[in-house]
Amino acid sequence: MNTAVLVTFGLSIVGAIAIALAGARAVRFSRWIALAAPAAAAWSGLSYLLGAGPGGTGGAPYIGEAVVVSVRWLSRADAGIGVGLAVDSLAAAMLIVVGVVAAMVVLFSFGYMAEDRAQARYFSLLSLFTGAMAALVTSSSLVGLFIAWEIVGACSYLLIGFWYTRKSAANAAMKAFLVTRLGDVGLLAGLAVLYHETHTLDLASVMAAVPDLAGPTVALVALLLFAGAAGKSAQFPLHVWLPDAMEGPTPVSALIHAATMVAAGVFLVARTWPIFEAAEGTRLLILAIGVITAAGASVSALLQTDIKKVLAYSTISQLGFMFAALGAGAWVAAVFHLVTHAAFKSLLFLAAGSVIHGSGTQDLREMGGLRRAMPVTSATWIVGAAALAGLPPLSGFFSKDAILEAVWHATPLAGAALFAAGAVTTCYITRATRLAFCGTFRGSARPHESGATMWLPLVVLALGAASLGAASGEFARAFGGHGGLSLPVAAASIALAVAGGLVGWRLGETGARRAQSGVAAFVAGGWGVDAAVVRLAGASVVASAALSERVDAGIIDGAVRAVERLAQGISGELEGLQSGDGRAYSGLVAIGAVLVVGLTLWLGR
């Protein structure tokens, strides 16, 4: 298992460099390296879970189960920071998710990116991303986690802006980078506070020290960590980057912006769960934000005309579900939903990629009737859509119901909002399904089914999306929880899903319109956060500019003028010294030395 983890990193880093160096000509060969790294990651996670057996680790997430490597870094006499890799059940589960999804995405990209000229860069970045993501989930210290977190963010930036000649792509990449950076500042501050309080950033030691911390400190740390998580996972005020991130290649959206990187926020909270467990108030905030995000984004998804935007808002909404579960204290349910969501959402994204590839458009209004032209794609899409909608016996049903149940028990109000969000989920995905796959084709191209390298990953992921639910009991027990479903919740959820589906079907029939009216455009644009940011930023920039103008003219310029006069005066006095005569210079140095020596003697008397 240790070897497999190390092989993952070795392959990722060597692969990233090798592919980049080998260039476009060798990419037909070198892209297999990009496929091997995630396979090794999945294998390492799987072999750990099989080796650990059911119920191998109990209780809270626990690091240090199987330390792969551990080194001291930045060590000082009294304190130091270790970095290392360690695998526990949580990390293993994440390794499997990352590995399988990344492998499928890379395989899918073989076909999807076949025509692209910059394939070497693409596969190189994917390889690097895989390695960084594996490092993120297996890191045994928060420092290592943070480093990987930033590398992952950088990969995301580079891949969103992959087609950098398109201005929109470059802008989207910049936006994603800046917005997530906002959260990362919080994360870094949280780490600083933690280090200040506990003098370590090793996960195991930090978690052991949490009970000794003061309540306000824990709340502060939890809040700051949550800021980082919210940035990465696109939670409510910071969600604006994710829809724009769809400018990147679709497989990238499937990997980074659906399954793995955006889920890193959930992972972070789960990883540092003891902190959040101790921070009751912060949990309430997380619950609120999660519910707001889940409900708001699902409504936004209802109004999109771009198939990828639908999925993007859907991802935000589902991440909101996970955070709601975290806020309600059910981190196991959140992680389980993370796993199933990774399966069905990456499936949906890849299927969307296949649709875009086959039909030549990503506008839902120009699709339709793809069911006949693209049988495999449409079949797998429907599996994914049903899983997203939470229909039994697919995986989404189990994971979402666990969340619904937990949240309902925590706060019925939030639970009700989540139930509604679930209904809207079914509604928008049914609408999108009908628009894309039913009826007649409205576009201009000739839709066709994609090649084997593209539909094979779809089938694999569809199998996962369909069957993962069966593992729900196992999963809950592996983390010390309990499996099983609450019948009333399940029944209510199914009923709402069916009702939402019917409405969505009707919406799909009427055809899609771009949301024109005020309210609808407001909702479709992500509840006006972008506009608010622009307005707020604009106003504050103007205000601060006015202020700084005054400061500049008065204080700074005045000081500069004073310094100038002073310097002129002094240099006028001293210019005789700069004679260009080396002898005079060395003489002055010697006289200075004499003065220093004399002063030392005089003072040391």
């Binding site: 260009g580 005569d581 080396g582 002898r583 060395s586 003489g587 010697a590």
Partner: protein, 99 residues
């Protein structure tokens, strides 16, 4: 004690050479005298104060090596400057930047 005084004297003499010589190479020679005297002073003081002779000698060795490198660079500059304008005296270098 005699070494300390002698080194101080040699250092001062080297300084005098640096201050009064006109020829660049002679100035460099004066600087070498200063360096050598300082190096001996370093060793002598370290030993007189009960330091580890190995440490003192090791550091002096490094000083010797580094000073030699400095001398090589300085002489190469002198020779290059001479070749570029047949100047070898310090006062002829007043307008190097004018080139």
């Amino acid at each position: 004690m005699i070494v300390v005084i002698g080194c101080a004297a040699a250092f001062a003499i080297g300084l005098y050479a640096v201050l009064t010589r006109r020829e660049l190479i002679a100035i460099l020679a004066g600087a070498e005298v200063m360096l050598g005297a300082a190096n001996v002073q370093l060793v002598a003081l370290a030993l007189a104060r009960g330091g580890d002779p190995a440490v003192a000698s090791g550091f002096s060795l490094l000083v010797v090596v580094v000073a030699a490198a400095e001398a090589a660079v300085g002489l190469s500059i002198v020779v290059t400057a001479y070749r570029s304008g047949a100047r070898s005296r310090l006062e002829e270098f007043g307008e190097v930047d004018a080139e």
